[in-house]
């Protein structure tokens, strides 16, 4: 016997209302996002203050690249050293 299939009703199109007043939750969410963004801006400003031509060692270059990559591509996975 196949599994019992339960029908799920569709939501009416008229339920959609992007002009609905935002709840206190959504207004708090954007404050949190703003706060998180401040860190990215501060980090980007700190990195822009570094002259990359002055970096000499692989340690310095890799640390700089790590910080820039973290801003530009934050989803990169961490890798363990050998």
């Amino acid at each position: 016997m196949p599994a019992r299939i339960v029908p799920v009703p569709k939501t009416p199109r008229e339920s959609y209302n992007p002009d609905r007043r935002a709840s206190s939750l959504l207004r708090a969410q954007i404050l949190h996002l703003y706060e998180a963004l401040k860190w990215h801006v501060a980090e980007a400003q700190a990195l822009m203050a570094i002259n990359p031509r002055r970096l000499r060692t692989e340690r310095e270059v890799s640390e700089y690249a790590r910080r820039v990559s973290r801003v530009l591509h934050p989803h990169a996975a961490k890798r363990q050293g050998k």
């Binding site: 019992r4 339960v6 799920v8 939501t11 009416p12 939750l25 404050l31």
Partner: protein, 407 residues
């Protein structure tokens, strides 16, 4: 002790609905479910008793968002009583909702509940798998602090929506997993909806985030992480193709039906991959009650070591995190759970078990991180929280004994 049947835990956390509002009517189907008798009532601001009614609407009835901030919930739980020795009686819900619109008739809507035929997805899952009679929000307050308990086992002393910074060595469950070489993700719906699990995690652990499309792809390819936390869509917005994307979080006044479809989508994504289905425990839970009526008095709990000051609680009294918030719907899904399982709660002093959102990191840590340093990096509250994988039995239900949703 780890459960060797479980390779994945998935938590779907919805928004702002109480147990009685969503599942209270199921008592008529199964008397073990601690729902409504139909005689529960609250006084309105005129002193008239307002009974619970099966008159909840999918949308449009709660346009004025019911109060669910700390002082509002205090009024709901204690009925307006103040001072030492007051007794929780769950008699202040209608009075509280009156404060949102100053309309006596509208304030009665807070006592409305859904019938099972209105919520086919939640009803089927509750009747087919395990429903918790005693899962409570962690704090008698709003979203952000309650969700923090699901991630950290504490809100670090917060009882509101404020931004907070971590001063203590308590790691989120995602950091614990990643640091131990385990896999974990927070799947938010899309960029327009984004995540509620922001400042600390987004700043410090951006690699743990992915979108819901990725969740669906990971389910299909069998590459789901060991622990996944899924967020619904929090707002109505245009899709990239210009179409309509509706909020699916069920926060008032979003259409309940879209949340039903989202729950069914998450369920089907797991259900239709046979290997994933038999190795996954899916918990569907709501972050807090959203100001909606529930008849069960929140129990006391182990304090987490913090105290919120009167200026923060807004009640004139400190709060020592020694009492849980209001009861919320919670359902555990797995083919290893027998049909019609009801986990007793506060109504059964002998057998009842109390769960709250700290039960989530407690369960995930117990399952995947047996060597985690329990002394320094978890709160006493989380260490004492009930875990839920023991609800899985040794008997797996055959495939044709488990439902599938047709979307």
């Amino acid at each position: 002790m780890a459960n060797d049947k479980v390779k994945h835990i998935v938590v779907l956390m919805m928004e702002n609905r109480s147990f009685d509002h969503m599942l209270g009517a199921l008592r008529a189907k199964n008397p073990k479910i601690a729902g409504l008798t139909g005689n529960e009532s609250n006084p309105d601001t005129n002193g008239t008793l307002v009974k619970v009614q099966a008159s909840a609407q999918f949308q449009g009835q709660l346009e004025n968002d019911p109060d669910h901030h700390f002082p509002g919930v205090d009024l709901q739980v204690f009925g307006g009583a103040q001072g030492e020795g007051r007794v929780a009686n769950m008699q202040g819900f209608v009075k509280s909702y009156f404060t949102q619109a100053n309309d006596v008739n509208r304030s009665h809507a807070i006592m409305n509940y859904f019938t099972p035929d209105q919520l086919p997805v939640l009803t089927e899952l509750a009747m087919e798998f395990a429903v918790f009679n005693g899962w409570f929000s962690s704090i008698p307050g709003p979203t952000i602090c309650n969700r923090a308990f699901a991630h950290y086992g504490t809100s670090f002393g917060q009882v509101g929506m404020d931004i907070f910074y971590l001063l203590d060595p308590i790691l989120s469950i995602y950091e614990r997993m990643v640091n131990a070489g385990r896999t974990s993700k927070i799947y938010y719906y899309d960029q327009q909806s984004s995540t509620m699990e922001v400042v600390n995690l987004l700043k410090n652990e951006p690699q743990v985030f992915a979108t819901f499309d990725q969740f669906l792809a990971d389910c299909k390819s069998g590459s789901l992480p060991q622990y996944s936390f899924v967020e619904p869509c929090y707002n109505d917005h245009p899709g990239d193709d210009g179409g309509q994307i509706l909020a699916s979080d069920q926060h008032p006044d979003h259409d309940i039906r879209e949340g039903e479809r989202f729950i069914a989508t998450v369920f089907n994504a797991i259900r239709t991959n046979p290997d994933l289905w038999q190795s996954t425990a899916l918990l569907i839970v709501y972050d807090e009650h959203g100001g909606l009526y529930d008849h069960v008095v929140p129990p006391s709990c182990t304090p987490d070591g913090y105290v919120a000051q009167p200026a923060d609680t807004g009640t004139g009294m400190p709060f020592a995190f020694d009492r849980l918030g209001i009861r919320v719907p919670a359902i555990l899904v797995s083919p290893w759970i027998q049909r019609g399982t009801v986990v007793p709660g506060a109504e059964d002093p002998a057998q009842g078990r109390i769960f709250e959102h700290a039960s989530i990191p407690a369960t995930v840590t117990g399952q995947f991180l047996p060597n985690f340093d329990q002394n320094n990096k978890r709160t006493v509250r989380e260490k004492g929280a009930a875990t839920f994988l023991d609800l899985l039995t040794d008997q797996m239900r055959p495939d044709d004994d488990c439902i599938v949703f047709n979307l």
